[in-house]
Amino acid sequence: MIKSKKIFWVLSILLILSLTLVGCGGAKDEPAPKEEAKKEEAKAPAALKIGFLGDLTGDTAMYGQNTLDGMKMAVEDINGAGGVLGSNFEIVEADHRYDKAEAANIVQKFVNSDKVIAVIGDPTTGITKATAPIINQGNVVQISAGATGPGVVEIGPYIFRNTLLDSVGGPTTMDYLVNELGWKKVALITAVNNDFSVGLSAIFKEGILKNGGEVVIEESVQDGDTDFSGQVTNVKKSGAEVIVFSGYYTEGGLIMKEVRKQGMSDIIMVGGDGLQAPTFWELGGSAVEGSVSYAGFSPEQPTPEVEKFIERFKAKYGKAPDLFHAQGYDAVMLVAEAIKNANSADPKVFKDALAKIQDYPGVSGNTSFDANREPIKSPVYLLQVKDSNWTLLKKVPVKK
């Protein structure tokens, strides 16, 4: 017994030591003492730091990487034009490999060590909700460029998002599907391990039923699956006239390919803005021709800002931008706009200016924030794939 007690104490001491060691190691990352920083400020204003919160190596790496690329271009543009209030923007990036514990550590670092003024991210609702309380408490602005699910901006006055909400685009699209395209029998496919898809499916279903349509079959897939043959066979059997899919472009493209492979040559896919990426037709090829989705902007009738963005994006990255690129770009631009309007780079001040932004002509759509700080992108565009590109089907204004 004596021995075990001793080990116990030795271990406790080891534990404390190691925790302090980790502490000392990490402390080095902290910025220089305040006095020095103040001196520097007097000479030239320090760069305004923006944190990128996202996944670069895990399951959602695609969305994280694209958001970051969009942000990088925005920062380049802002700094090229002389910065905001005389200071340049600087991105602090950190990869959380889709791990919530790591994401929580990262935002603590952003808020307390890096002293960022804003955090852009996470593209997923789950990690946004896990990090928002910490960021809000640290009095830093967060703009998620991708979280569409419920319960995000309610977390606090510093929390924003720059997305086309499901509750805006979903009902509009289903109304058009049932009443104008005249399809009543719908096969609804959900990516069951994707919260975005699960949330959107509920809204789609409500929209279909409200307009007098019928969901003849509900199928589940998983993000990351490549084999959809079983589900598609069931859809074929059900006699559905159209496939409504609430997930992302990778699975969407592959599902349509399987649909054509099984000999259904005229059925199309209708989906959310999760389908908005060139990957959709790169994977689906001719199978996704005619597919419909909604978005906050139309590539066919681009505003000058959008046109310029697409052109410069292609020149920089050698590919067409997708939804996450555009939302990441806009998120940084919205922060810059708010700082300009507030004439202050203090998050406590410019968060109110951000909440007041109306009709900002972003590349991901015309953006306003409502009284609850929820984004409203109006009008909503219904788009259709033609010759591997989105073409305009209908423009629907949104009530504010």
């Binding site: 670069l56 399951d59 699956d225 589900q231 990778t250 592959l254 000999g263 994977l283």
Partner: protein, 300 residues
Amino acid sequence: MDFTSNFIVQLINGIALGSTYALIALGYTMVYGIIMLINFAHGEIYMVGAFVGLALVTVFKVHIIIAFLGAMLFCMLMAVSIEIIAYRPLRRSKRLAALISAIGISIILSNLVNLLVGPKPQTFPPIEEILFEIKSYDLIAGAQINTLQILLIVVSAILMIGLQYIVKRTKVGKAMRATSQDYDTAALMGINVNRIISYTFAIGSALAGAGGVLVGIYFGVVKYNMGMLPGMKAFTAAVLGGIGSIPGAMFGGIILGVIEMMTVAIGLSSYRDAIAFGILILVLLIKPTGLFGKQIFKKV
């Protein structure tokens, strides 16, 4: 479509999916049979195979059959080097040490590909451009099978029969069986065990590489994290069949694929994994060494 035709279509879907599991499962089972290692990096080797095939077809513009063989060769060489670097020094250590080493290799491979290619899914050129037009053939009762499914099933079958021939009829195969039965005695009998283990890794990984390219053609997409899930399913399939047994891995793969498809067919697609793994656990409880596994008696 009536019930029978639907059943047959789903059965074919399941066999096609199961063939891909089986090709990967064979590598797991061979390596396990010979050095008792769950080679976690095996799924990533399958992924690398798919990328090598893609690069050969799109960048070097070679014929798909050459790309197929090229991917197999690349995976062979890669797996043999991995074995020498990461597993051989640990052969006499605790088995879990080699397992962790394999996990490390798996993390390295998938992140390396992510770094080189990026997280975006890459598209395989459409099958019409590189091989043939997809046609569907009628089977009984209105059920159909298409050329891609036939290709996948036939190529997998040829590879598995080839493997069975190597293991049962050749000298190397005999040495492999001897080594897997008793490592030390095999060495005493003059078998160069290190070389035989290298052969085992080479053959198993060639099959995984072939599987990667086949799946790339079949689904038209390759991704840096595509190895993870099929790797896990294939390992499960190998255990279901009785790990260490080559026919067990083949049938285990196909049975797992068919179970998954049947779950989807009866409308429980969201419980697909739960039911597949539930059946696995049941099988193990009834027959603790898998369907084809031999009863192992422990020497006291």
